[in-house]
């Protein structure tokens, strides 16, 4: 614990600005992944343990599209769309068969998919790590704001993630389809009884969840290393975010992800040794005191 270093940091503008943006970028990308996880859980009550794999495949797809077209944004789009399709197939051919089965059976299916995809990635892209590299349009020196260092690329990423998150929130909150999704989360039988095609709805939810994870993978590809099995650590962090924010709550996931990012960026200065342990303790405290999470509806 280094309280004085932490105090020094929060009282100087340069450190405050730099660490805040760095916390935000980590948090926003995590939010995209966690949002899909929490959406799927909220509507279908399925814990998608293969969600980290969605993120990994999205990153690899974006990498390949970028290599072919040379366009970063096409790459990101490719990752998102590809994973939306993958999500639909995954729901249709695998998860749909175990609705209502034991949660552990669902876990087993997801585990099998993780195993298969990790090996497929190894076969298609090789066992070695891959790096997309920074697209030329972002190879610019960092900005200096109030003495803090802020890379323009990260500002763009934060903005894009916010746009995607905002779009998702607006869709769920204002549109008809959003209302149906929320209603289905609340009472699926009633929605079905009202003559709404829940089969299509569930496909749609998995498509959205897959797209979010794929977009996150694509957005992060220029600065992160692509390896088979890279989804695992993301999955664990997404679980933490989902649980703290409240399983099924998109807004909760946003706040929890940003908080987690900030804890990491300031924690690395104040208490570098035990940031990870702290996350788990926070997760336990929240589960025990308010199982539905900080922003979820009271379920238990």
């Amino acid at each position: 614990m280094d309280a004085s270093a932490l105090l020094d940091c929060v009282t100087t503008s340069s450190c405050l600005v730099t660490q805040t943006t760095s916390g935000l970028i980590v948090g926003m990308l995590l939010f995209l992944v966690a949002a899909g996880l929490t959406l799927i859980f909220g509507v279908l009550k399925i814990v998608n343990f293969a969600h980290g794999t969605f993120y990994m495949l999205g990153a690899y797809l974006a990498y390949t599209v970028f290599q072919i077209t040379g366009s970063y944004w096409l790459g990101v789009l490719g990752g998102g769309l590809g994973m939306a399709l993958f999500g639909v197939l995954f729901e249709r051919f695998l998860i749909r068969r175990v609705y209502g089965a034991n949660v552990l059976m669902q876990l087993l299916i997801c585990y099998a998919v993780v195993l298969i995809c990790d090996d497929l990635v190894k076969i298609v892209w090789g066992p070695d790590f891959r790096a997309m590299g920074m697209p030329p349009e972002f190879q610019v020196p960092p900005l200096f704001i109030l003495g803090g260092v802020v890379p323009p690329f990260y500002l763009v990423l934060i903005a894009v993630s916010l746009l995607i998150g905002g779009g998702l929130g607006l869709t769920l909150g204002l549109t008809k389809i959003g209302k149906i999704v929320r209603a289905a989360a609340h009472n699926p039988d009633m929605v079905s009884a009202l003559g709404i095609n829940t089969t299509l709805l569930y496909s749609l939810v998995f498509a959205a969840g897959g797209a979010l994870a794929g977009l996150a993978g694509g957005l992060a590809a220029p600065v992160r290393s692509l390896t088979p099995g890279m989804g695992f650590s993301i999955l664990i962090e997404s679980f933490i975010v989902t649980v703290i924010g409240g399983m099924g709550s998109i807004g909760g996931a946003l706040i929890a992800a940003v908080v987690l990012g900030l804890i990491r960026s300031f924690g690395t200065i104040g208490f570098p040794q035990f940031t990870e342990g702290l996350m788990y303790i926070a997760m336990i405290i929240i589960l025990v005191s308010k199982p539905s999470g900080l922003f979820g509806k009271e379920i238990v």
Partner: protein, 417 residues
């Protein structure tokens, strides 16, 4: 697809040999009593490259030995196994290779944690084993952990720390670098090598002070908060023991913050071809150790080995592990020939103090040191990166006399002698 390549190569050599000499009875006999060598490594997950590039080092040597009549007149039959990087699997695989598959010798290309588990099995079974990838010094340096029939053909962490310390101290003196930061993976290997590096750096450059230390997790996807923390500390120099995918991500993310222009950077694991070629926008001027490069030692023989490796391995680049594995099997070959058997004790006696010709050495020879069963005299040196091939220039070789001297001191301090 590459899984079958080893088998394919084998078949091709056997076919070529039989077509060439028409010595079918000999081959039939050789095949009837093959010499099985167990080879275990990590072929899956984020560091599957360890396995594939280790096999790339072993297989051409095995093919060469088999094409020239085998070892002790017997064809070598390698049995490759994946431990997935889990120590308990590594232990099981090692036992099974010996007990079930009938392997008479072991080549272990596990990462350090797996190698320690294999070491216990080797101690139990008394089979000869060469660790070809584990660099953690204590595996052979600590007499409590050393096993009578286990050897190491990989570089040893403390050797790198000494050469790195000497080289970095020189640069530090010349450029007046006194404020240092470190950023290394948060596990035993990362912590040990960082501590050893700082120890030797401060030994030669007493003015150096450490202003900031960061310990990101192994395989952590994002290093941003670590990078900004380093920038806050405004060091003049940075040391990092990150490697492979983590190192690549660290460099890409550091580039976003223009970190590499702001300080002198020392990264021992940079000088490996997959990293040098895999990192896009490689910054110039990073100080790095040479892990494996065709240009160090700058000899025709080394260049030829490099070309042959790429030809035999799908045009992949050899890694540091590839040369360590090639060296391991060559040492094993020489020792088995010398001992005239594959018996653990006999081969161990032959291996102790054994010197062989090697292209991976600036003197043309490497030696298996008798007292602690570890490799010495291999090519070791530091250079500076440039964005294009050959990627690392001005490589300054380490001095093995000095290494041995400082290593002994270090061993005394740790109670190993």
């Amino acid at each position: 697809m590459r899984a079958n390549q080893a088998a394919l190569l084998n078949r091709r050599t056997v076919l070529a040999a039989s077509a060439g000499s028409l010595a079918m009875p000999f081959i039939a006999r050789a095949q009837a009593n093959p010499l099985k060598i167990g080879i275990q490594s990590i072929f899956s997950g984020p560091i599957a490259l360890l396995g594939t590039s280790s096999r790339g080092g072993f297989q051409p040597e095995i093919d060469r030995i088999n094409a020239t009549g085998g070892l002790l007149g017997r064809q070598i039959q390698p049995v490759y196994r994946d431990s997935k990087g889990q120590p308990q699997e590594a232990a099981r695989v090692a036992r099974e290779l010996v007990n079930t598959d009938g392997c008479e010798l072991l080549l272990d290309a596990e990462a350090s944690s797996g190698a320690f588990a294999v070491q216990e099995v080797v101690r139990d079974l008394g089979v000869l084993c060469i660790h070809c990838a584990a660099e953690t010094s204590s595996l052979t340096a600590d007499p409590k952990l050393r096993a009578p029939t286990a050897f190491r053909s990989a570089r040893q962490g403390v050797h790198d720390a000494i050469v790195g310390g000497v080289h970095s101290a020189k640069v530090a003196e010349a450029k007046k670098l006194t404020k240092w930061a470190t950023c290394s993976p948060d596990y035993a290997f990362g912590r040990d090598t960082t501590a050893q590096f700082l120890e030797f750096l401060k030994h030669f450059a007493p003015n150096v002070e450490t202003v900031s230390q960061s310990w990101p997790k192994l395989g952590q996807p994002d290093f941003t908060e670590v990078i900004t923390k380093i920038l806050q500390a405004r060091p003049q120099a940075l040391y990092s023991a990150l490697y492979a995918g983590d190192l690549s991500a660290f460099i890409n993310q550091g580039n976003v913050y223009a970190m590499f222009g702001a300080m002198e950077v020392f990264v021992p694991a940079m000088g490996d071809l997959p990293v040098l070629t895999g990192v896009k926008n490689l910054p110039a001027g990073i100080q790095s150790a040479c892990r494996y490069l065709p240009a160090f030692p700058d000899t025709a023989a080394n260049e030829a080995w490099y070309e042959a490796y790429r030809k035999a391995n799908n045009n992949d680049y050899p890694t540091n592990w590839s040369w360590e594995c090639a060296t391991g099997i060559r040492l094993m070959e020489a020792a088995v020939k010398k001992a005239g058997s594959t018996d653990g004790k006999g081969v161990a006696a032959a291996l102790e103090g054994l010197t062989i010709d090697s292209v991976f050495s600036t003197t043309g020879k490497v030696t298996m040191r008798a007292e602690d069963h570890t490799l010495i005299d291999y090519a070791i040196g530091w250079g500076t990166t440039i964005p294009k091939a050959p990627f690392l220039t001005a490589i300054e070789p380490g001095d093995w006399g000095q290494i041995a001297e400082l290593e002994t001191e270090w061993k005394k301090k740790n109670g190993y002698v």
